[in-house]
């Protein structure tokens, strides 16, 4: 029997299939296409999952189970509309935080900025200068002011991303190293910007579905 695990994010959904032999297959689809799938997921998590289903799992719990192999460290998952982190010390849970509601300084805002200014994310160059984006809305105002004064949108958006990275560093209580999970792992500008402040190791965007699989194994095997 093939097992299916789903991390249904706001924009993209990550799926893990595990066949009878334990072989794993990862895939990403647009969340808007989820309704076209005829799959009963063994476990699901994420903003777009049905939280009332019995097999729904809390996202921070899924993240924690996805990084069980990391005995020590801070693991940050930065997605389209939320940010969450956990810290482990000697294999035990130590600390956590989760901002589930404000998306003004997360992936969705950056996606909108890139579309608004017609900028390709691959063309962004990390910039040590940063906008203050404690509130992303105020950060947007800075971008608009700078672009209207002649600064290239690519540079302005890069400064915004550095601000988001600085936020993430502070949100995780300024650790020495961050293990980064989620869609931002594929945003080179963000990863390099985060490295201005802290050592970074990327884990990819499938940590939560791996966590769901680990939860399944713990419960049923």
């Amino acid at each position: 029997m093939t097992l299916y695990f789903l991390d249904a994010g706001t924009t993209f959904s990550k799926i893990l299939e595990v066949d009878d032999s334990g072989n794993k297959k990862y895939s990403v689809i647009k969340t808007s296409e989820l309704k076209n799938l005829d799959i009963n997921f063994n476990y699901s998590t994420g903003h777009s999952s049905n939280k009332n289903k019995t097999n729904y799992e809390n996202e921070v719990v899924a993240l924690s189970y996805g990084v069980k192999h990391l005995k020590n460290g801070v693991i940050l998952d930065l997605g389209s509309r939320d940010a969450k982190w956990v810290q482990f010390k000697n294999g035990s849970f130590k600390d956590m935080d989760w901002n589930t509601n404000c998306a003004s300084a997360t992936g969705a805002t950056i996606e909108m900025l890139l579309k608004f200014y017609g900028v390709d994310v691959q063309n962004l160059i990390p910039n040590k200068e940063k906008y203050p984006v404690t509130c992303g809305i105020f950060g947007l105002e800075k971008i608009m002011d700078d672009v209207s004064s002649g600064i290239a949108p690519e540079i302005a958006i890069s400064k915004f991303i550095t601000g988001v990275a600085f936020n993430a560093y502070n949100f995780t209580k300024r650790p020495n190293k961050i293990y980064l999970s989620g869609g931002f792992c594929e945003n080179k500008c963000f990863v390099e910007a985060l490295k201005f402040f802290v050592e970074v190791e990327t884990l990819g965007r499938f940590i939560l579905v791996d966590g769901l699989y680990n939860i399944y194994l713990e419960k049923f095997e």
Binding site: N58, E59, V60, V61, S64, V86, F93, K94, D95, M96, D97, W98, N99, T100, N101
Partner: protein
Amino acid sequence: MKDIIAFWGYPHPSLIKKTKEEYKNAIWLDLDVDFNHPQASILPVNYCSIIKNIFNNAIFYKERIIKILAPVGRDKCDSAIFAVEILSDMGFNIETSAFEEKTYKKNNVYISESNLPLKKKVELITDNIISEKDYSNLEKSIPVAGFWGVPPNDLSILELFPNETHIFGWMRCVEQMAPFDIELEKFVNPNIKTVFFAQTFCAKNQLAKYLADKYNGLYIDIDGVSNNSTKAKIEAFLRLR
């Protein structure tokens, strides 16, 4: 018709006793509780929800309130002192009290350490300020979690906790009839995972954050109604810690 004795916090037992004797048929009303009455708009928008409840409830029941029993000592908070001034100016009959001694301290934590649902525990402790029932028959639970703090404005967060959650902080002090005992208020079980709660804008946030850091607990503050973010954090903390 005036038929209500209103109160907030934990009025001194001697004042409760005297008032009960004087107004035998009165209805007792805890002004701290959110009954969803209209906003009185007397206090600043950004202010403690519990103090706002006091004003909302007092004004809603103004024609029925005989008097308000108003703790103003270290067992409540500075906001209560100012609330007394404002409500008196608005025409309410108010009698203040303050715990000044520890002689009322008892070693009973029957409700705080029982196996009742956490929300029920909180309701029993606050109801028992007036009803003064004996709960020594409650079954004691082996703790798996702790909840430190005051009764939250949004009681729904209490439903996230297992029944084997023990109560610490001000509510435990109230059950032991020592609502101003700072040493007792700081007491927690260091061997269990504890959520340290304070109402946003309350001075107790200082102690909640400090104790959460000290005992590797989870510090939360909530203004009004809890959001999904806070509930998710509590849920994850109880699962992972």
